[in-house]
Every structure is written in structure tokens, then in C-alpha cells.
Symmetry: C2
């Protein structure tokens, strides 16, 4: 499930955006979307400071109620930031953006099987596709950084590691599947701040779902994430797990809708929204 | 829109529950539901301390996506706490409860017209009804009280006053309509606490949508609420407005789905959930 992208094919560059350009953290969301449209295809952690990043899942209208209900019943992994009307590729969250071209890389699914990972899905688009933009934990990393919490995967220029857990989501209609989590190693002295800061952002997954022993979530080896990259951490670091917006993709794989388009894990949509809009306290 | 209930008809008692029994604040949610099933039909503010109260809207499955999308696009007035499967009258939020009988009073709507306000909707129930339980600001009144903020309508044994505003909600499919708000007069020295405490509960409407001049929301006369009772307030009190879960009823009236069942304003469903589960900071 964790492919190695062919970095020689075409113009796509799958390096993390913060490695491509050391100023990526200071980009406007519009600049980020333009650079992505022009060929950047890598993970977006650390890009466009203070702007909300979003996961994408688009399904045929016939499946839209199941997806929306699944999100409603599982708000921690699937907090919905926007839902488009069928066929539309625009969103209230980003002026002038095109959801078919402005994400770094996509995943195209048929009957629950991953069939393509293009950087542009205009050729796959359908009139009946309803798109869901779902909160992403990259959003609260700025608050973590301000609170002095080190972000290991950004420090190391890697994608965040993500794991499929054995914890089931609450099913909805034809959709079921496991919770997916992202993991950040946190030094013990920063644990309280990490919990406090992220709880303030329920629209982008909120506080951790678990801290410590990964086996509680059915994760065997932190060094082998299901998506993203393994990160190096200090011996004292505590692995802290947050619900992840890749969860709908695990539901697609488990529930096999006839067609779906998602983002590729870690390669998010940059919205114009300010993270601060989603802070509740 | 604000009927006077016939207090002589049958066994129904439309007095606020806190006036019927001075111990109502200490009831368990199960006791509250039992007493309501047995005939209490009044407003539920101040009942079952620390337990989450919920608004109800039930629509035919054909309209469920529109309602869920409307709620998703308008999360402040319409925070969804649970959605049932079609035909079901049970909810994960209250063990053993029956959504057809356990609310004090209902409203039955045909083509957007209010046609009945019974205390039991078993005769109206349909196999295709999907029920939405939506957060209610009565939930955060306990946090306000703990922070020393006076709750005028509870002090005065009245229903909270609610107003239809001129502020439109974001439409969704066939549904559109105005924002409805509840109002609590707050002494100036308690305003900061009122904002701070309620922002911590986004799942039950969160912080105020407006404080001060009611005309900004298109409200002409605070003494004539569209639902609930007018409350008396001190000259210095500031009117503070929170988004209200009656908003879906205004959308039903404006959008005219063929059939809907809602709660009667202020007469809420008592869940087993603890308010603290919805506190985010």
C-alpha cells in the first residue's frame, strides 16, 4: 500500500515540498496550489504556515450519503470541512481552486482497488462525483510548533507515518472500515502541550486517540507505516497517535464502492482557510 | 408559530419540568425520559444536570442527504450528535430510549406546514424516517452556571426565548432557511465567561453568534420571541445569541419537504451522554 513513486516519469516531483523549496512554509495557499498544479507531487507537511490542509474523497452521488453519514458517525477521523455539489470541482474553502488538479497526487479506486495514482484527475472526473474535504492534522502542527513541540517528520523532511489500526469505525450504510492514525513521536516533557494544543482543533482531528504502546491499536512495527515514511525518534519520545483523514480510504478499500478518487496520503489540498478559524479555545 | 398549549387536554402537562418537580435538575436521563413518556410535555431546560440534551428532526430517507448536508454546511446551528438508520427509533446516545415517545412534545410537518403537536408520534411514524439528533445549548448551561453566569430563563422557570433571524444558512440540496438563535441576557461582568465557557462546546452550538444589538440579526423585539418565552432581564444585561437547533425547523418551513417530525422548541430529548464528553478544552 506504500508505493515508491517513479521520480523520473514526467515532470512530477515527489519530494516533500519543504525539501523542494526552503521557503515553502511561507508560501500563500494560492502559490502552493500553483506550484502543485505545475508539478510538485510530494507531501505537504510544513507548507503554507497557518493555512488549513484537507484530505479529499470524491464518490458518485449514489454513495454520497453513506460517506457523509460515515463522516458524521466518525467525526474524529473524518471531520468534514466542505462538501461540493455533484460534479463541481470548486470549494468555498479556496478561491479559484480546482479540486481535479490542485492536489499533489491522487488515488483512483475501482471496486475498492487502487488503479492509478495520477497528479491530475481531469481524465477520471465524472458529472456525478461529490467531493468531501476532510480536516488534516498538518493543520495543528503550527500550533504544536508554537508551543515548542518538535515535529519529527518535518524536521527530517519526511511524510508523516500513518498506520491502519485494528479499531473499527462505526459503520454507515454500505461503508465500514478501520481507523487510520498518524503518529508523531513526542518528548515526555512536551506531551501535555501536545494534547492541550491539539484538543483545541476538533475540526482537524482534535486530541490524540492514543499515546504509548502501539500494540493497543494493533500496530506491530512503528518502523513500517502503512502510508508515509518512518520517522526517527529519540529513545525517550512517546509515540502519540491522532485520528487520520486517510480513514475514508481504508473504508473505500474495505467497502468497495464502484468508484472513488482520494488524495494520496500526506499529499493534501491547501485551502485558504486559516487554522485559527478552527481553533475553539 | 408560538402556540398556547391546551393544558386541560389529556394528561399532558406543559409546564417547564423544573416547575413540575423541584428535583428535576437531579433526575437521571432515564428518569426524565420515563416522566416525559408518562405525560410531562414542557420545556426541559435545567433537567438532568450534566446530561446532553438534543433537538430532533426526522425526515423520509429521500430527504436524509439534504438534511445531513445542511447540517454539515451549517455546523454551528446544526451539530449532529447521532443519525439513525431508516425506520429506527433507537439511538446510541440513550440506552432503551424510544424517539417516538420520549420527547415531551413533537411537531409534525406536511409540505412545510405544521399540522400537529402531539406528545407521542407512534401514529405518525414511517419505515423510511431517518432521525437526526442535534446538539442543544441547554447542554452548556451547566458550564455557564458553574462559571457563575446567571441563566435568566431557568431562574424564571421559563422556556428559553428563540428568534428567527434574517441571516441565511448555507443551502444544501433542496433545503434552505434562516438561522434561528436562542438568547440569554448576560450581565456585562459575566460576558467573558459566557463566551469562554460556551466556545468549549462546539458540538452543542459553541460560542455566541452575536452579542448586543438584536437588529443586526433582524430581530425587532426581544419581548416577542418566535419560539419559547420572553425573559425578564436587568437593565445592564447584554443579550447574547447562540445558534439554535430549531434552525432545521425553519428550513422545513421554508423548503417544504413532504413530511417531517421535529421536537417542539425547548422540549428536548434527554440523552445519557455527559456534557463533559462534548467539552473540547
Amino acid at each position: 500500500m506504500n508505493p515508491t513513486y517513479d521520480r523520473t516519469a514526467g515532470a512530477a516531483d515527489d519530494r516533500p515540498l519543504v525539501l523542494v523549496d526552503e521557503h515553502a512554509h511561507a508560501w500563500s495557499p494560492e502559490t502552493a496550489r500553483t506550484r502543485i498544479r505545475e508539478g510538485l507531487a510530494g507531501p505537504t507537511a510544513g507548507v503554507a504556515a497557518g493555512r488549513t490542509q484537507a484530505n479529499l474523497i470524491a464518490v458518485p452521488a449514489d454513495w454520497a450519503y453513506d460517506v457523509l453519514l460515515f463522516c458524521t458517525r466518525n467525526p474524529q477521523p473524518c471531520p468534514v470541512l466542505d462538501v461540493t455539489d455533484a460534479g463541481s470541482w470548486t470549494t468555498v474553502l479556496a478561491e479559484g481552486a480546482d479540486l481535479r488538479t490542485d492536489l499533489p497526487r491522487y488515488r483512483v479506486w475501482r471496486d475498492g482497488e487502487l488503479v492509478d495514482e495520477p497528479t491530475d484527475v481531469r481524465a477520471y472526473w465524472r458529472e456525478d462525483l461529490v467531493s468531501f474535504l476532510i480536516g488534516c492534522s498538518f493543520t495543528f502542527e503550527w500550533a504544536l510548533a508554537r508551543a515548542g513541540v518538535p515535529i519529527r517528520h518535518v524536521e527530517q523532511g519526511r511524510n508523516v507515518p500513518m498506520y491502519v489500526t485494528t479499531r473499527p469505525c462505526r459503520p454507515a450504510g454500505r461503508l465500514r472500515g478501520p481507523l487510520v492514525v498518524s503518529m508523531r513521536p513526542v518528548p515526555p516533557e512536551h506531551l501535555a502541550a501536545a494534547v492541550r494544543e491539539t484538543r483545541r482543533f476538533p475540526a482537524v482531528h482534535g486530541g490524540p486517540v492514543h499515546c504509548g504502546d502501539p500494540s493497543v491499536l494493533g500496530i506491530g512495527d512503528l518502523g513500517r507505516p502503512d502510508f508515509g515514511d518512518p520517522v526517527e525518534y529519540s529513545p525517550d519520545d512517546i509515540p502519540v497517535f491522532w485520528a487520520c483523514g486517510v480513514t475514508p480510504q481504508a473504508a473505500v478499500a474495505a467497502s468497495r464502492p464502484p468508484f472513488a478518487i482520494t488524495h494520496a496520503p500526506g499529499r493534501m489540498f491547501l485551502t485558504d482557510a486559516l487554522d485559527e478559524q478552527y481553533r475553539v479555545a
